[in-house]
């Protein structure tokens, strides 16, 4: 009954996916979509499998037993728990079709079962594509028998089933005390607390920046060792122990393990169903905070008037009022701050450099700048890239108004760039001061960073316009849907371009250091800015043509 209901409930999604592939565009476009999907789905796991297998060969003598399995199992279990919570929220509370399903003559158990299976699948498929090849890569490295592949896959499936049940119960309970639609923000705050804890924890174990010797392999080994000693890894043994058992291949142990897992699944499912039956209320959880009258503070300036200022004010108001966005931003800042301050505090690095303060500052400067650019990329991927896709819904308003496509794109670009600069540039300067960089280096870094931000934002706006019709507003919350997965892959294309910029930065930096702030350095900055302006101009023109 539950399975039949599950199939019925999932059917609209499957049919929609089928129709979106086979009933849109010409047969050539359909073939291209199918081929592209197959290539992505085949390439990604294969690349992970071979890189893990080949990398592990380098560490065969130093790898501690079970260390890698712990890393995989713990990471998978932790990420999946967050994904399962977000999907439980999405599927049980946010999904519009729930109203339709709740109208149907279904028992609570059947509804729960159907949605539970969908939640398991939706939250896990991307993670399985990433983690199973890692596991298989390890298995190939240790020449594990065939049954290890089967049983370890089965173990992951049990993990998914158990954690999904726990996540649903947790989310339903939480929705009783906190409005369901805002739970996403709560999860992000929890992740933020996690990052802060990781920072304090990393200081004690030197996990973030272990002793750096003369080679990368040693550094990686140190990381693994530090990880292995950590509390997280010790708790990770809980998840990896079954895999180590499976690797031993003892018959009775395997049977006992799966019996235990089965029992745990039954227990978690029953508990979750009970919580669901007693506490689930779609309308209460959602509508408690909707239609709340609350006058808002506005800081909308009426003068001076310009299209750019208008878009900027609109985007700023939307950004600040959607609490999830500033919280995610704080998360970015926390990651950046923790990383660089940890780096600065690493006496091991100074020791490794023989107390060369200038070289130490150079490294801090370069790594800080590269880190800042990567942070800009992350920021652009999350906030700037979807900016045009989000305007898609207001197309009736923008296109109906007397502004040209180029004016609109330029206004949007300027508004987003100013927003990025306001947020990220002070961050760079503050981190520079915290790291005791000289004023000269901070100034050079800030100029190069500004130029890079302008370039990266233009690329993000331009490439985002390619997907303006693919409506998706919360990349973080829906990474497991097919559309968002493709969306994410395309946003990652920005990365290689930015690395090219970074290489440019590093070489200009060496010139600037050689001549201090000489004429050559300034010329290099101008050339760099001009190249980025050209790239940006190209992307913005393309964007305006597509809009």
């Amino acid at each position: 009954m539950v399975l039949r209901t599950a199939i019925t409930l999932v059917k609209p999604k499957v049919l929609s996916l089928k129709n979106s592939i086979f009933k849109t565009g010409s047969w050539a476009q359909q073939a291209l979509i199918i081929l592209g999907t197959i290539i992505v789905l085949a390439w990604l796991p294969s690349a992970i499998f071979f890189s893990v297998r080949d990398t592990l060969k380098e560490f065969s003598s130093d790898l501690q037993p079970g260390g890698f399995l712990e890393l995989i199992a713990t990471t998978f279990a932790s990420i999946f728990m967050i994904a399962a919570c977000i999907h439980a929220l999405q599927i049980f509370f946010v999904a519009r079709e729930n109203e339709l399903f709740l109208l149907a003559p279904l028992t609570k158990a059947a509804f729960f079962g159907g949605r539970y299976l969908e939640s398991c699948f939706a939250a896990s498929w991307v993670l399985l594509i990433l983690f199973l090849p890692m596991l298989y890569g390890y298995a190939a490295h240790v020449h594990a028998p065939w049954h290890f592949y089967v049983f370890s896959t089965l173990y992951f499936i049990f993990l998914i089933l158990i954690e999904s049940a726990i996540a649903i119960g947790f989310v339903v309970l939480l929705s009783r005390i906190y409005p369901a639609r805002r739970l996403k923000e709560l999860f992000i705050i929890m992740a933020l607390i996690g990052v802060i804890l990781l920072h304090f924890y990393s200081k004690s174990t030197s996990f973030v920046f272990p002793t750096i010797h003369d080679g990368n392999i040693e550094a990686f080994q140190e990381t693994i060792r530090a990880w292995h000693k950590s509390i997280a890894a010790r708790s990770g043994q809980f998840f990896s122990l079954p895999l180590i058992t499976l690797q031993r291949g003892a018959f009775f142990e395997t049977i006992a393990l799966f019996c235990g897992l089965g029992a745990l699944w039954g227990l978690s499912y029953a508990a979750s169903l009970r919580i669901f039956s007693d506490f689930y209320e779609l309308s209460n959880a959602l509508e408690r905070w909707q239609h709340v009258r609350k006058p808002q503070q506005t800081f909308w300036l009426q003068k001076p008037r310009s299209l750019f200022l208008s878009f900027f004010q609109k985007d700023l108001h939307l950004f600040l009022r959607d609490i999830a966005q500033p919280v995610q931003l704080i998360l970015f800042v926390a990651i950046a701050g923790v990383t660089l301050i940890s780096f600065r505090q690493s006496s091991l690095l100074k020791g490794a450099l023989g107390g060369d303060a200038l070289l130490f500052d150079d490294i801090i400067f370069t790594v800080g700048l590269l880190g800042h650019i990567l942070l800009t990329v992350l920021f652009a991927g999350r906030f700037i890239f979807p900016a045009l896709a989000l305007e898609e819904e207001s197309r009736w308003l923008i296109q109906g108004s007397p502004i040209s496509g180029l004016d609109f794109i330029n206004a949007k670009y300027c508004s987003q760039s100013v927003l990025t600069l306001i947020i990220l540039l002070p961050l760079y300067v503050v981190i520079g001061f915290l790291s005791d960089l000289s004023l000269e280096r901070i100034t050079i870094g800030a100029v190069l960073s500004t130029i890079s931000i302008l370039g990266i934002d233009a690329i993000a706006i331009g490439s985002g316009s390619l997907l303006a019709r693919l409506w998706s507003n919360n990349l973080g919350a829906t990474t497991s849907t097919l559309g968002s997965f493709i969306y994410m892959m395309v946003s990652l294309l920005i990365l290689p371009l930015c690395l090219v910029f970074s290489i440019g930065l590093a070489s200009f930096y060496s010139l600037l250091v050689a001549d201090s702030l000489s004429f050559n350095g300034i010329v290099c900055c101008i050339i760099y800015a001009s190249i980025i302006r050209l790239v940006a101009g190209f992307f913005l023109r393309r964007a305006s043509q597509m809009w």
């Binding site: 609350k294 006058p295 009426q302 003068k303 008037r305 200022l309 108001h317 009022r321 007397p402």
Partner: protein, 255 residues
């Protein structure tokens, strides 16, 4: 003396692949009239209106608004148009007033005029009390009224309205019908598509009935009656005319 033309459409076509949503539509709309566009679902009403608002580009044909070609000079043409879609998307995290500021900037409305019009429209559409609250807290009817304010903020000469009565309560519907008549009396041209035949009958000076992307009747109600040789009687109402023209003869006889 003839009234100047507000809208002139000639040989308008819109195709999506092999499907022709609008096929060779030509018509003129006089300034200051309320013009109704009728048709069954999928007849091509919204496509036509979206082309008139400059949101969709026609596959063929031309549209001119007060003599300005939408193809050659879209910015100038849009400057004198206001458009209200059937399901307007509004920025949920802006307040009503902020949204109107934003729209007035899009249309380059001078500050004093924007302030004056915002006050007037918010009061007229009974939104003053809600102006500092987030749009997400508005009801459907309030959102529809706010979209109407946004379309009027720059004092357009042509107002294009797609399904204005969707989701409105009887008070809201009555208010809007009166408003359209008043705007027309003040010289504004109102072009509205509707499913509601009594709205069209009550408000529109002239009508066009579209079926499968083509015009099947055009004129005042009396003219349409005479064009279609209405043999039932001279008082045949719009509903039965509509049903007969759009192919449901049996239903038309029962009304």
């Amino acid at each position: 003396m003839h009234a100047p033309l507000a809208v002139s459409i000639s040989h308008l076509k819109k195709s999506y692949g092999s499907f022709a949503a609008v096929q060779d539509i030509s018509l003129d709309i006089k300034a200051g009239e309320v013009f109704g566009v009728l048709g069954v679902n999928g007849a091509g009403k919204t496509t036509t209106l979206r082309m008139l608002a400059g949101i969709l580009t026609p596959t063929a044909g031309d549209i001119s608004i007060f003599g300005i070609s939408l193809r050659d000079n879209p910015i100038e043409a849009k400057r004198i148009c206001g458009y209200i879609p059937d399901r307007p998307y509004l920025y949920n995290k802006l307040t009503g007033r902020e949204f109107l500021y934003f729209v007035s900037d899009l249309y380059h409305v001078p500050v004093e005029m924007a302030e004056r019009n915002i006050e007037r429209l918010l009061a007229e559409y009974k939104l003053t009390e809600w102006q500092y609250e987030l749009i997400e807290s508005y009801s459907h009817g309030m959102k529809q009224r706010l979209a109407t304010c946004a379309a009027l903020i720059h004092e357009p000469k042509l107002l294009i309205v797609d399904e204005p009565m969707v989701g409105l309560d009887p008070h809201g519907a009555k208010f809007l019908k009166a408003a359209f008549r008043r705007y027309a009396a003040e010289g504004m041209t109102v072009l509205l598509s509707t499913h509601s035949l009594n709205v069209a009958e009550e408000v529109a000076d002239r009508l066009v009935i579209i079926d499968r992307g083509k015009i099947i009747a055009l004129g005042t109600l009396a003219e349409i009656r005479s064009q279609t040789n209405s043999s039932l009687d001279n008082e045949e109402n719009l509903e039965s005319l509509f049903l007969r023209l759009t192919g449901d003869d049996e239903l038309s006889r029962t009304t």
